[in-house]
Symmetry: C2
Subunit: 288 residues, 2 copies
């Protein structure tokens, strides 16, 4: 199962998920000027980042919005990026956060689990209910695909809906987490985790301990490290025996060259930041 492959990748390479949320203005000018089109520059920038991080990245998270923003040519760069990660034997999480039901969800499954945009995992938004997840399930069993459902995100606005208190003295995100966790029990791989994972932002210590305990077969996709304030020590609380999650960093890695002031060697700067991050988390994991 794909979740076993991701688990193994974490065992071998660490927890870093390299986020290819590539905005055109992240691409250094000298590099941009080499190419005739934005599409080509976008793809070639990603290719450099992938080449420089392949032995450190547990997986790559590609945020489709950055490509969709450029229309058809952006989506061609998106497709080429996915194809290149596949050729390189990397694991892909397509961060698409789709959420719809019935035949529409089947169409999204078709869009991202086969054809031009085929990927390993997609992120999904569960607001409409479990029947917005069900249409993807045949692909988990038959095509070795996986999901990450939004549970508790790391943004300020999470308080608006995810944090609404329910009659059972829970928060909405806890109720959502439990429902998705239950649904995932049918898809548990040899590693002990389900092919239905959860997006769980790195936030507070108590929350982390509770979520890791309750959602014990759920693999976590953890945003919020670095730029968004999460520390390695916090991240470690979301992991179990040193595995059970990947930690995303996008700008922290893609824009590492700006911090160093070395845009000529942007890919090498990205590599060094990915290694630093990997070791930072490893150290914290061992410290527990």
């Amino acid at each position: 199962m794909i979740i076993d492959k991701l688990y193994e990748s974490v065992e071998n390479k660490g927890h870093v998920c390299v986020g290819l949320d590539t905005s055109l203005d992240y691409i250094p000018k000298h590099f941009m000027s080499k190419f005739v089109s934005e599409e080509e520059a976008l793809f070639q920038f990603n290719k450099e980042i992938i080449d420089a991080t392949l032995d450190i990245a547990a997986c790559y998270k590609v945020q489709i919005a950055y490509y969709e923003a450029l229309g058809i040519s952006g989506l061609i760069a998106y497709k080429r990026t996915l194809d290149y990660i596949k050729e390189s034997k990397g694991i892909i999480i397509s961060d698409i956060k789709r959420g719809d039901i019935a035949k529409t969800a089947e169409m999204y499954a078709k869009a991202h689990f086969e054809g031009d945009f085929e990927t390993d995992f997609i992120t999904v938004n569960p607001y409409m209910g479990l029947d917005s997840i069900e249409p993807y399930l045949p692909y988990l069993k038959n095509k070795n695909k996986g999901l990450f459902a939004l549970i508790r995100t790391s943004n300020q606005g999470a308080k608006d809906i995810e944090f609404i208190e329910t009659k059972d003295n829970k928060k909405v995100y806890e109720a959502v987490g439990e429902k998705i966790h239950d649904m995932g029990k049918e898809f548990i791989g040899g590693c002990g985790y389900s092919a239905i994972g959860g997006v769980i932002g790195c936030t507070h210590v108590n929350e982390a301990i509770q979520l890791r305990k309750v959602l014990n077969t759920m693999f976590f996709l953890i945003p919020g490290y670095g730029a968004q304030g999460g520390k390695a020590e916090d991240v470690a609380l979301y992991l179990k025996n040193g595995n059970g999650g990947v930690v995303n960093s996008s700008r922290g890695i893609l824009l590492a060259y700006r911090k160093v002031g070395d845009e000529l060697n942007f890919a090498d700067c990205a590599r060094k930041e990915a290694i630093r991050m990997k070791e930072d988390i490893m150290r914290a994991v061992k410290g527990i």
Copy 2:
């Protein structure tokens, strides 16, 4: 404001929102065989439907998933469909249900409020909170765009999350509806409705009356008529003085030819069904 234009369109043409959720298998074989590519057939089918319904359709809802499922060429057909509706002076709701925050949401705004996929309204998923809506707001003011946020959907699974009971004796969807409604107050047009509308499935009588009362400046996008079981009398309860919402029908219109058994004249069948639906709703609206 775009919401005034939609309101006026309802005044002039009635409440029917023609849903272009065009699956390839909806296209009659004789028509399909005329074209060299799926992309061309998909666009030409939509074009026939648009031409046949332009004077009856308050607006068109284009469900991107059906196009995304066909990869790059599907998205070209999607773009061509949007362009054709614009040329024809129709109003478009792009049913994309995107939901993300910060720079990612800005990218979705860029994707769908300018460039290749520019549209009038998009649907958004509010699960992550109000900061998943905020990045679109500048476009409401400066580019005359609008939103429909998911509030209470008409699927079975709505019970899973939208119906969770909160400590304040509300359901989650009611709390979400009120937050979005408040947010919309800054964007109310001359017609008395906000450019931030809500997706409110056609379901139960009591619910309809309550929602229409509380969310009194929210324009509704109402799915669930016909194929999903909602009747014109139910729909009428979601409208206010005969306006305040559009009612979507996709398969009911696109596949009207199957019911009649006349695939040669699929566009004419679609037109007749749109007229029947328009009159059905009008009759119910006047009956209140």
